[in-house]
């Protein structure tokens, strides 16, 4: 680097002048630009964009509900697996017409996989969240069910069975809400 120690202020300019006529004109090989202001601006912009960008883009969970038709589908009660979410976010399940039993969020996935593998495609999952339950808990349950679904598909595929998912949102009745409160 030519002119080291000379500071940043316009190097090698003063040499012009008197010596100019005597000396052979020096061939210039390069020139330097003071990049400081540019770097200032670039850093400013960089920090601005870094702070304003949000890396997390919202993702979506696909939901489908049956059409609004008043028809009662006959369901074999024995194959009905019902999941409840109580007002305080606690999770309950029941098989067929059994009494609802509490289950932890952490155990749900294993339970769902186990039951589905036992009854293959016959199991019908009904999801009955109570109106007071926090929305976050409902999405959490749906997420666990989706994860379990991937596992079930893989396991059934190994047995050569095509998976047909039977899942529905079902409205909870006021009696059931009351019943859950007592548990």
């Amino acid at each position: 680097m030519a002119g080291g120690g000379g500071g940043l202020e316009v190097p090698e300019r003063q040499r012009r002048g008197k010596q100019h006529s005597k000396r052979k004109k020096k061939k210039r090989l390069g020139f330097r630009i003071d990049m400081t202001p540019m770097v200032d601006i670039v850093f400013l912009l960089l920090t601005f964009f870094m702070y304003t960008t949000t890396m997390v883009t919202p993702q979506v969970m696909e939901i489908s509900v049956p059409k609004e038709v008043e028809e009662n589908v006959e369901v074999n009660q024995a194959n009905l697996f019902t999941l409840y979410v109580r007002g305080d976010g606690k999770l309950f399940f029941s098989m067929g017409t059994d009494e609802p039993q509490p289950i932890a969020f952490g155990q749900l996935r294993a339970k769902v996989v186990e039951l589905n593998l036992l009854r293959k495609n016959k199991l019908i999952t009904a999801f009955k969240p109570s109106p007071d339950a926090p929305y976050g808990a409902i999405v959490q349950v749906l997420d666990i069910l989706n994860q379990a679904e991937a596992e079930i598909i893989r396991q059934l595929q190994a047995e050569g069975i095509k998976r047909e998912r039977k899942f529905a949102f079902v409205k909870i009745s006021p009696e059931e809400v009351e019943k859950l409160k007592g548990l």
Partner: protein
């Protein structure tokens, strides 16, 4: 021989590599930057989305209508907000519903009746418009249930829940 030490006044650093990297980062962030939409800029609530595990499907940014259920940061009231992303479609829907100039905002605060009308008009003006429910994870499920019922009533049986990836 003792030399007189030259007093150093300054030094020069070759900034070229640094500038290279900085520009690279700058262009990266400039291209990836996504700015707030008009609707988001004026909303008075922040939605704390429910967590879900990683999903490959992202929220589409066109042909979509979003039903937001947000908690107002000032008053703490929960309410529905409706926004149609496509501006042309939005104008058409507002026109069909005879909205006043004041009501013609990118995002409208709605009750269930108006939500019903808006969804119906959205379906008419753009049959391929998809719906998404963007709810706060702290709200009661009742809000979501009612919104789903309105969607079902308008034959929109496939829709999306907006979630956030669990870190």
């Amino acid at each position: 021989m003792p030399k007189i030490k030259k007093k150093r006044l300054g030094f020069v650093i070759d900034m070229t590599p640094m500038v290279d990297v900085t520009f690279l980062l700058l262009t990266f962030f400039m291209f990836t930057a996504k700015f707030k939409t008009e609707a988001e800029a004026e909303q008075k609530f922040v939605i704390k989305r429910p967590y879900a595990s990683a999903d490959t499907s992202k929220l589409p940014d066109k042909d979509i209508a979003i039903i937001k259920v947000g908690i107002d940061t000032l008053t703490g009231d929960t309410s529905y907000y409706y926004t149609i992303v496509n501006e042309l479609q939005r104008r058409q829907v507002y026109e069909n519903l005879n909205f006043t100039t004041e009501q013609r905002k990118p995002q409208v605060k709605v009750g269930l009746d108006l939500l019903d009308q808006l969804i119906m008009q959205t379906r008419i003006t753009g049959p391929r418009t998809r719906f998404a429910i963007d709810g706060d994870r702290r709200i009661r499920y009742k809000w979501i249930e009612d919104a789903i019922d309105v969607l079902r009533k308008n034959n929109a049986t496939a829709f999306n829940f907006v979630t956030e990836k669990r870190q």
